[in-house]
Structures are given as C-alpha cells and as structure tokens.
C-alpha cells in the first residue's frame, strides 16, 4: 500500500500522557511504545511540566496533539498560538504533530471545546488554507483528526470522508483516524461506522485514536453518545478498530483517557488490548 504519511511513530500502542503517571511510565511502561501530550499543557516557560517532558522524550517517541488551534475557525489562525506550537515542536522535536477538524476560537474568545463545522467547498478551502499555514510555519507534515459529531449542518453538501480526502489531497497533510469518534458520530447521525471506514482515505492515516464515550439520548429518545474520554473503550469500538486495521494494516494506536483519569494499572489493561489488536493484524500483514 502506498504510504502517503511520513509519520515515524512506531506501529505500537501509545497513551495520552498524564502527569500522575510519570513515575509508573518511567519505571515500567509495559507495551507502551510512544506517548502523546496535549500541546497546550506544555506552553509554560519552565518548571516541572517541561522537565518531565524532557525526561519522557529521552525514553519515548513523542506525539504533540494540539487542542486549541481552531483550524476550522472562520477567522485567521491565532499567530501567537501558532508561534507557541512552533516553539514547542522545535524544542521537543516530536515524531508527530496533530490537530482537530474543529474550531474553538471566535472573536478572540477561546471556548475550550472542539466545535463542529459544515462540510462545503467553502470550508474545504478555509481548512486547507489553515493547514497550509500550519505546515509551512512548523516545517512539518501534520495529521488532522476527524471529530465526534452530535448534530449535522443543513448547509453541508459533502460527507466527512470526502471532506477529509479533499483536505489531504490539497494540503498533503496526514490524517489521524479516531475510531471512537467514527463510532460516536455514526450512532449520533445514523450512518454505518463500517461504511465510514470503507469510504475513508486510509492511505493517509498516520495514527489511530481510541477512547471511551458516555451514552445519553436526545429529546426524541434517539441515542446520543458523548465523546468523554472518561472510561474504557467499549467492545463495538474495539471491533471497529479490528475492521479498520484489517484494511489499513498496523498503525500507531493511542489510548486516550482524559477525564476521571484512572490509576496506571487500569490504563495498562487498555494498552494491552490495543497491543493484542496490533499483534494479530501484524501477523496478517507480515
């Protein structure tokens, strides 16, 4: 398969790093092959966070995952924030940088959530222009992550997979495929998650995310899944991962657990399950 992504993260399980797990990870990380950090948590000028990051980066390949650049925003990218990202990437030299297909800042207010955008020719151009600016400024290829959707836009006139394929083709960026987000969006908007994977440009995938979600209902009683990252990955999402890996081959595979963060031993069980999924598919693709 043609590999459109120059992402040197190993095709092994990684975890979203939390400071309370520092000692456990440095002591014995089990099958963890790399770590991901949220860029915005490391934009101070010194102290323990950066010291820990330096120690971790001496032992593990690192992925910097931005949650605040607002790539889908109607306005211009925040130049100060892009400069902070460049400072962090130049210092840490991570194996990978990724951000979200979402917006979070408008009229200089940062809303701290990954807010949705419609999929149209106009938004393709806007997002592609922003990604060009990011890749030019950082001097590296970035990965763009698919969102969790709770609602649809009346004005959208293309599918998310077509949108992502156009963005990857126009900008040369890679894609971060969040399989839990696919499942959440598919249930919430009423389409087939396997069908989404079938239509998704898998050649561009540089990383896969897995996380837990919560279950609710909308006002009509229709299921409404919430992307909370606060619990174990559910079985249907593990199945969707197997389905994805069977088509994509092994990929760097991240477990995200960001709220109600458990003790390391609980997270390690998720990592082992991810490791097993990767091992079984590696045998097929060997």
């Amino acid at each position: 398969m043609f590999d459109a992504v120059t992402n040197p993260l190993p095709h092994r399980p990684g975890v979203g790093y939390k400071a309370q797990h520092f000692n456990a990870i440095m002591d014995d990380a089990g099958p963890v092959g790399w770590l991901e950090v949220h860029a915005e948590n490391y934009m101070g000028l010194g102290g323990r966070p950066l010291a820990q990051l330096r120690h971790l980066s001496e032992k593990f390949p690192m992925s910097v995952h931005g949650v605040g650049l607002s790539i889908g925003g109607e306005g211009r990218l925040d130049a100060d924030h892009l400069a902070r990202l460049k400072t962090l990437c130049d210092w840490l030299q991570p194996a990978s940088f990724s951000e979200h297909l979402a917006w979070s800042t408008h009229d200089s207010a940062f809303l701290n959530d990954l807010l949705p955008l419609p999929y149209t020719a106009a938004t393709v151009t806007r997002v592609a222009d922003h990604i060009d600016e990011v890749q030019t400024t950082l001097g590296r290829q970035m990965l763009l992550e698919n969102p969790s959707s709770y609602l649809a836009f009346a004005e959208s006139d293309m599918t998310e997979t077509d949108f992502l394929a156009q963005i990857a083709a126009r900008t040369g960026c890679g894609l971060l495929l969040d399989v839990n987000n696919v499942f959440v969006s598919a249930v919430n908007l009423g389409y087939s998650p396997q069908g989404y994977i079938d239509a998704y440009p898998l050649d561009h995938v540089g990383e896969i995310h897995l996380g837990g979600h919560d279950e609710d209902e909308d006002e009509t009683g229709a299921p409404l899944l919430i992307d909370s990252h606060g619990r174990e990955v559910v079985d249907p999402v593990w199945s969707l991962l197997d389905y994805t890996l069977a088509h994509s081959g092994p990929k760097p595979l991240l477990i995200e657990w960001d709220t109600d963060v458990p003790e390391w031993a609980v997270l390690l069980e998720e990592v082992k399950r991810a490791d097993a999924a990767l091992n079984s598919i590696a045998a097929v693709f060997a």
């Binding site: 010194g46 102290g47 605040g68 925040d78 809303l111 959530d113 419609p118 709770y150 009509t220």
Partner: protein, 244 residues
Amino acid sequence: MITTQSAFRAAVLDPTSPPPTGLRNPDGAQATKRFDVYRNNVAVSLTDALEAAFPVVAKLVGTDFFRAMAGVYLRAHPPKSPVLMFYGDDMPDFLAGFAPAQSVPYLPDIAHLELALRHSYHAADATPIAPDALARIAPDTLPNVTFTFAPSVHLIASRYPLQSIWLANTTGGKIGEVAQPCLVTRPEFDPTVDALTPQQAAVCRALIDAEPLGQALRHGGSGFDLGPLLGLLLSRNALISLKT
C-alpha cells in the same frame, strides 16, 4: 441556510437563547438537546478549569457557590488564549466587584495568591546565585548592589493574614491576626508561600523593582534588619544575579 460561528458562539455562551438555526437532528428537525452538548462542554470544562485554578477560593465560598460564580465569570471573561494554565487573570478584580462575595473581603487577595502560584509553577527555570555571593562583595559597595529575581518570584500585598488563611485551607493551621503580605518563590519545582512583615514586603518590592540595596532598605523604616529577608530570598533560590 448558513450557521455562522458568531451565532454559534453567542448561543453556546447564553443558555437562555435558542440554538442557532441550520443545526439538525438525524431526523432533520432543528437540533436542541444536541446543541446543549456543546453548551455543556464549554461551561463545564471552563468551570472545571477555574475550580482547579482557584481551589482555596472555591473552598472558602463552597463548591456550589464557586461553580455558579464561575458560570458568571466565564461568560463575562471567556479565555482569550487556548493556554488555559493562565486562565483567570481577571478573577481578583471580578471577585472585588462581585456583590454576593463581599462577605469574604480577602477573596481577591487569595485569588491573587493562587494566580501567582500558577504563574510561578510554569515560570522559566533560572540558576540562583551562590549563597556566598554577597559575602564576596566589597562592604563599601554593598549599598549599590541590585538584584535580578527569578521569574518564578511574586510578591502579593495584603492587609489580611493571607499566608495563614491560605495554609488553613490547604495543609491546615490557625488563621492569624496580623497583615501578611506573601512571597511566592519556587525553590525547585513546587512554589512556596512565605509570610513577610509589611516592612519586609516594602523592602522586597523595592529590590524586585531593582532599587539599589542601600536605597531599598530605607523602605523598611528605622532599625530594619535585612538578615531574615535576605536569608529567605537566598534559601528559596529567589535571586539569580546581582551587580554593583
């Protein structure tokens, strides 16, 4: 039908307004509860960030009061930057003007202190001067000495027994009765809070502002003993260079 981000932003921050038009449930109806997911994410995540940033303010007023107040704050002062480690710079002024919180008059000072602790935690690393650096200065030039302080140092003025209020709500202890300006330093990675006398605070403020030592001492009044303040600054790695 276009849903602008201006309309989305306004409705996300205002729970009394209807959701923006052009947002759909899977059955094609206007989204309502589904839009509330975003409203909830924005309000809860920013409230959580503020509660984590101001734990002693939250303890002093109670969690329910704090979270309701945070809801007012985050709508009046949404973050201007995605770097949330510094969110809440306007909190001391907000508390000073927030009528329901006036019964706790030292809340703005506690908020100042908690902001300083966070800025100190994330401040740039710096190498302190050697403990004997002053001893190597010729005595007749000592009054001309100026210091550079570590970027992690903050001095919080207060008319209240600030350090003891902070301690009583973190590690424990009795609340004192005299004014306690607070010196925040970061000896290594963990910020530390020390109480100063008002005289020490006046001298320390002058030194932070790079007044020469001889001139700074005059802010302490007659009979001021520099020894304890200087010993504290040295032991807390607060001084990173000096020049004569």
